[in-house]
């Protein structure tokens, strides 16, 4: 059994998503071949070869692949899909864009956003925006899956680098044409959609302290800043930062509540966050009841220590 994994990269660096998808790919059983498709991607291929669990790295290098467009990437994979019984990609924008084209051409169903490999043909995945989890078994001989990377830990570095082989890229005129790419400036991400949110409560004490304590940390983590209603009412933060029942409802991967007690109105705005961290001086604060990680202490001491530990 062999699995083909589509690597995710920006032409220069292999992304963390690839290492995580590799863990999933390895769980499907059998050898894993990693396909790096792009242009001038030698460095990416070398990084890929260093990951543990990779049998071979296949390099498809061509100008047509320089921007990860679906037609050429899918065509490249299909050209070499022949012997693989499982084809995997991380559920990144590229993976989601490309993989279904392959599944349709192979006349098989795709299983999207897999969160657990139960067996080589059986997978768990979220449905209804994560409000339910379904376990499906496929009857197709070739399995095509995208993998939700946050559900898998990244594969470590291996002992010996894998073999790197060049593979051909179909030569034809592609219809879609890349025009330009606009990379997001590192302004603070939007509160409603940020992956990390750092929120402050009334304990911050003043608008200046609120800004000076949360600002640098948010910058460091590329996080959005939120506030409790009490902090907004006290004038420490503008009201468009308010997280809560009468403010914004957020569900980031990581929500760090600094000096927030955890009134029910605030919880309503963030209780669906994947991981909740609470830092508060009061060990009986209600927020500790829903926090995944609780740290009791003075936030003005803890925040600098946190930044130091981030390195």
């Amino acid at each position: 059994m062999t699995t083909l994994l589509l690597a995710d990269h920006d032409q220069h660096t292999l992304s963390d998503a690839t290492a995580r998808a590799l863990t999933a790919a390895s769980a499907t059983g059998g050898t894993v071949h990693l396909l790096v498709a792009g242009h001038n991607i030698g460095a990416v291929a070398e990084a890929a070869a260093k990951l543990s669990g990779v049998g071979t790295v296949l390099v498809a290098d061509d100008p047509a692949l320089a921007h990860g467009l679906a037609e050429p990437v899918a065509a490249t994979i299909l050209e070499h899909a022949g012997d693989y019984d499982t084809i995997v990609a991380p559920a990144t924008a590229t993976g989601k864009d490309v993989l279904p084209r392959i599944a349709a051409r192979l006349d098989v169903m795709q299983i999207s956003d897999v969160t657990r490999i139960v067996a080589p043909d059986t997978f768990e995945r979220p449905i209804y925006a994560g409000n339910a989890v379904e376990t499906v078994k496929t009857s197709d001989k070739i399995r095509v899956l995208t993998v939700r990377t946050s559900a898998f830990s990244p594969a470590e570095a291996g002992d010996t680098p894998a073999e790197i082989k060049t593979v051909t890229v179909p030569q034809t005129s592609w219809r879609a044409r890349f025009e330009e790419e606009i990379v997001t400036k590192s302004d603070r991400p939007d509160l409603s959609s940020a992956k990390i949110v750092i929120s402050g409560g009334r304990a911050l004490g003043s608008a200046d302290r609120f800004r000076d304590t949360l600002g640098p940390l948010a910058e460091r983590l590329n996080a959005a800043i939120g506030a409790s209603r009490a902090a907004v009412d006290a004038g420490y933060a503008p009201n468009d930062l308010q997280v809560g029942q009468t403010g914004k409802v957020v569900a980031p991967d990581l929500y760090i509540a600094l000096g927030i007690s955890g009134a029910i109105q605030h919880l309503a705005g963030m209780k669906d966050s994947k991981i909740i961290v609470a830092i508060n001086k009061d060990e009986d604060a209600p927020i500790f009841q829903i926090a995944d990680y609780g740290l009791v202490g003075d936030l003005f001491q803890i925040v600098p220590e946190f930044e130091k530990a981030l390195g």
């Binding site: 029942q245 009468t246 029910i264 309503a268």
Partner: protein, 590 residues
């Protein structure tokens, strides 16, 4: 943030499974396109508009209120835009005649949309509601010229309407009004007077306001028989239909009220403005009264709507709020598990769903009255409508207000503060018990006029319909207990009705004193009847064709039958005791 979701499933259950409206409308040539699928599309879209655009303005509008600046009324932020979106989407013309640009949909559909408007933003809903009332009056009584000049723009929402009846000395007794109208050479009139409590009297949402003003002609007989109706536009309108010069109508003041703050309740000064007669001279009240039933239905669903909005918030809160432990619980319970909270929520729902059913029953009769080709059916419908509209107006607003108080109580302290919105529903609901004819006046209308209307035929017919439901429910064991309770209520109602119309309570004084209690007894019995019908329809339908299953009709019917309907017994006893003790103390003893 509390939110409002229009109860479209419940509305469609009533139309499809209880009242079978497709068959009803199929008999009306003008309404053959009004099938349930069409109605559902309309209600879904109206519901979306109400939830997404009107509801978010409800609390902000309440807090900001209207203000008077340099003689102009400014409505709260967002209202003018919402009104424009509402009108441009054609909602204002839903039931208006296609002859003047309306969609011609029946009262049944209009009243369901009115419920949603009232629930999501009572103050806003009054603008199109009053405009529609004005349009219906103009269409029924004005000359062709006036209709052609005013109706198209009012129906399109470009102009709004206002009804100017009340004066400082003339509220319940309009016969005392003093506003005068003097004829001019060109057939129009000069109208002079001051009116108070005029809803939507002025605003910044549309380019003209069309006032319907009650006034006396020079040779008018005294009292209510001497009142005429005049159309007075805020800005005079050219023949081409463009508003021009101001017409000497001004806002004297804005009232500061308990609720409906986003509604400008105006003192209006008509300082010799130009007006046109609508209907025959001295027949102004009669002209307004032809719209009375539609207006009563509208005010009734105002009570129903805010009660439902309050119920939705109360239920959401009760499911999430953890306080105390129910017997046997090992962790803190959500308050919805506590019997007292359950009782409050069920009481609210027992009222709202029955109130909606009674409204729809009456609206369908109003549609028969207007659209059915058979004159006998129209006559019978007219009688039922006349009988039921005072009941709907008074009962839905009384019970509606009580429901908002329960909805506030469920939230405890959070019900008293502004944030959750429950206290606003209480304040907003209160007015519906007062305006458009106080509930006391409605009760008097019921007892003094409607019971004996048409030789009492409508009453007999209604009681016959209730008995029919009882008979049809007899073979169903699951309905036995509800049926029994409804039977008891009907017996009380029939006995008291007899005593009031032809027995020992039939004097004017007895009937006056009994009126309010009687109306409540009447309403409760009607609710019981409809609960039995709904429970029966649900057990029969199981799952209705489109797969929806309205939750727990039988369970709520049982609650109503067990815990609320017995009030009919005490009401009967109250009325039966006679009025001696009411009038025994003389005025000096207060």
């Amino acid at each position: 943030m509390p939110s409002y979701k229009a109860p479209v499933e419940d509305m469609m259950f009533l139309l499809r499974d209880v009242f079978r409206s497709d068959a009803v409308f199929a008999e009306m040539p003008a309404q053959t396109d009004t099938d349930c699928d069409t109605i559902e599309s309309v209600l879904e879209e109206a519901g979306r508009f109400c939830s997404e655009i009107l509801y978010p303005l409800n609390m902000t509008g309440d807090i900001e209120g209207c203000r008077l600046e340099n003689g102009k009324v400014i409505t709260p932020k967002g209202f003018a835009e919402a009104y424009k979106a509402f009108s441009e989407a054609g909602w204002g013309g839903l039931s208006a005649s296609p002859d003047y640009g309306g969609q011609g949909l029946p009262r049944t559909v209009q009243i369901l949309v009115d419920e949603m408007l009232s629930a999501s933003n009572l103050s806003f809903g009054l603008f199109p509601g009053l405009t529609r009332g004005a349009c219906e009056t103009i269409e029924a009584h004005a000359t062709e010229d006036l209709k052609n000049l005013y109706l198209p723009k009012m129906i399109a929402g470009i102009w709004t309407g206002a009804m100017a009846l009340t004066e400082s000395n003339a509220g319940s007794d309009l016969g005392l009004l003093k506003t005068s109208a003097k004829p001019r050479d060109d057939g129009s009139f000069t109208v002079t007077g001051t009116k108070i409590f005029i809803s939507s009297g002025d605003h910044d949402m549309a380019e003209n306001v069309i006032h319907l003003v009650l006034a006396r002609l020079p040779d008018a007989p005294a009292g209510t028989k001497g009142i005429s109706l005049f159309l007075c536009p805020k800005f005079l309108v050219s023949e081409e239909g463009t508003p021009g010069a101001p017409n000497n109508i001004s806002v004297g003041a804005l009232e500061h009220k308990m609720g409906i703050h986003a509604q400008p309740t105006c003192v209006m000064n008509y300082d010799g403005c130009q007006g046109w007669l609508v209907g025959a001279p001295h027949r102004g009240l009669a002209a307004m009264f032809t719209m009375m039933n539609a207006e009563r239905l509208f005010v009734g669903v105002q009570g129903l709507g805010v009660a439902d909005a309050s119920y939705q918030t109360a239920t959401t809160y009760a499911r999430e709020r953890l306080q105390g432990r129910t017997p046997g619980a090992t962790v803190t319970s959500p308050i919805i598990d506590h019997p007292d909270v359950r009782r409050m929520l069920l009481s609210m729902r027992a009222f709202t769903e029955a109130g909606r059913a009674l409204t729809l029953f009456t609206a369908l009769e109003m549609d028969r009255e207007k659209f059915h080709p058979d004159p006998e059916i129209r006559r019978a419908a007219t009688g039922l409508v006349a009988l039921l509209t005072p009941v709907i107006k008074a009962a839905l607003t009384d019970f509606g207000f009580e429901a908002t108080v329960l909805g506030q109580q469920v939230l405890g302290g959070h019900g008293y503060i502004r944030e959750w919105g429950q206290e606003q529903f209480v304040r907003d609901a209160r007015i519906a018990m007062i305006y458009e004819g106080t509930n006391g006046i409605q009760a008097q209308d019921l007892v003094l006029r409607k019971l004996t209307l048409d030789d009492g035929q409508p009453v007999v017919r209604l009681f016959g319909l209730i008995r029919k439901t009882l008979d049809e429910a007899e073979p169903v064991p699951a309905l036995a207990s509800v049926r029994h309770a409804v039977q008891n209520a009907l017996t009380h109602l029939e006995n008291i009705t007899k005593r009031l119309t032809s027995g020992d309570l039939s004097s004017a004084e007895e009937r006056n004193a009994a009126a309010v209690d009687y109306l409540r007894l009447f309403a409760l019995t009607c609710f019981g009847w409809l609960w039995l019908r709904m429970a029966h329809a649900q057990t029969e339908a199981g799952t209705s064709e489109n797969g929806t299953q309205p939750a727990g009709k039988l369970a709520t019917a049982q609650f109503f039958a067990d815990r609320i309907l017995p009030q009919t017994a005490s009401l009967a006893a109250q009325i039966g005791a006679g009025n001696a003790s009411v009038m025994a103390p003389d005025a000096g003893q207060f």
